[in-house]
Symmetry: C2
Subunit: 268 residues, 2 copies
Amino acid sequence: VIGSAQNPHVAAARPLLTRRGRAAASAFLVEGPHAVGEVLAGDHVVRELFVTDVAADREVELMRVAATRRIPIRVVTEKVLARLGDTVTPQGLVAVVALPSADLAGVLSAAPRLVVVLDAVADPGNAGTVIRTADALGADAVILSQGSVDVYGGKVVRAAAGSLLHLPVIPGVDAEAAVAALKAAGIAVLATAATGEDSLDDVMDTEALAGPTAWLLGNEAHGLPQGLMDAADRRVRVPLRGRAESLNLAATAAICLHATSRAQNRTG
Amino acid sequence: VIGSAQNPHVAAARPLLTRRGRAAASAFLVEGPHAVGEVLAGDHVVRELFVTDVAADREVELMRVAATRRIPIRVVTEKVLARLGDTVTPQGLVAVVALPSADLAGVLSAAPRLVVVLDAVADPGNAGTVIRTADALGADAVILSQGSVDVYGGKVVRAAAGSLLHLPVIPGVDAEAAVAALKAAGIAVLATAATGEDSLDDVMDTEALAGPTAWLLGNEAHGLPQGLMDAADRRVRVPLRGRAESLNLAATAAICLHATSRAQNRTG
């Protein structure tokens, strides 16, 4: 049982709590039995697993899978494990997982029908929730611009609830280049904007959402820059009918993605 | 300038950071110039305003409105103000606002067309986002069951972004009694459930959402109890088409409320 944060394995994993450390090691941390179980069930590269003795005794099946996959298991004290989590309760398990290697060219070559592009999204909870929503509604990829929050930070990982490893999530993309590439691939790019010329409610009456579609969403406070708005095929507003000035980003994404998912899966 | 947290005004306001203190004083705290400006612009009872000298100099118009309304203004140091906020940066202003007094009977007497009922919702960010979304999409009220998170806590107030004071928000209601009262008022009660017998996408093809509608949503982890599911007129699922096990509560609410808002505002 490792009882010191100076242990070399622990010391090597600690920098993964920072964006810089994750980039340098090409790895990130996944906490808790549910999320770690999902990672082990998929085909992700799990480099090592830190676990308390209590959790090792409790999570028999997880330990068996990890051993079968020859993943190094480091038994640590509660106190050491807490140094590897950024929640108060990492629930006894932290996995070191290699960053997925999806890229835009790979996504486009698979003829995607529903894509999300997030430009300069700042809030980790928003980014994580959008990734989870995109996954749930059957999107093929989520693309994030340079200048967006790091998708492999703890808060995004937790809000995404496993979805980060379910579909290609591509960070660090130049948003203008992504929009151009999506359009060149025959995908309609729809920008969400409070001032959009098209009402989503009217767009839903047409066939516009039934084809391959990318939704482009901007920063929580500032929205999309004019260049990206202009580059999109349409600018679409969700009609507001109350007194709130705006919808939250994740709510806007949920509404737009659901409308598209429905249009693309009509049986009638 | 008040420089001590032992000052009687400050000491009297501090308990409002807790649910118990808010209930005892029938008041809650609103932080920051934007939210405080919204409160002052409405017809809410603002009991007093704590402000740093820097913020008082900057927010000239807010100070003028507060003075016109004869709201006591307490100038405090940054350090004292920080004791009244639960964010790191309360941005120089904290208002003490009387709890709104909406009740279910009052809401029902106004013939509402779109209502949200949250049962045992635990996460303050979710509750606040649902209230903001309900406001934005033109809902007439949000009802929360006993056992839900306190809607006047700081995290809910911030996530709701002012919407808490835009539409009637009614906490502490018995959910079964609320469902019965909504049905008796001729409002269709639709429960959201992953196992619901009706797909939202199909329901949207009918006229079912065009009439007065209440959406019933349950706890983030456990969903709705069977009794409430059975009491609803329909149980509706948002079709999931990816690998995520579920949508987050606020995303589900956004999708269902948008579908209803659209159906109720058709011009065709």
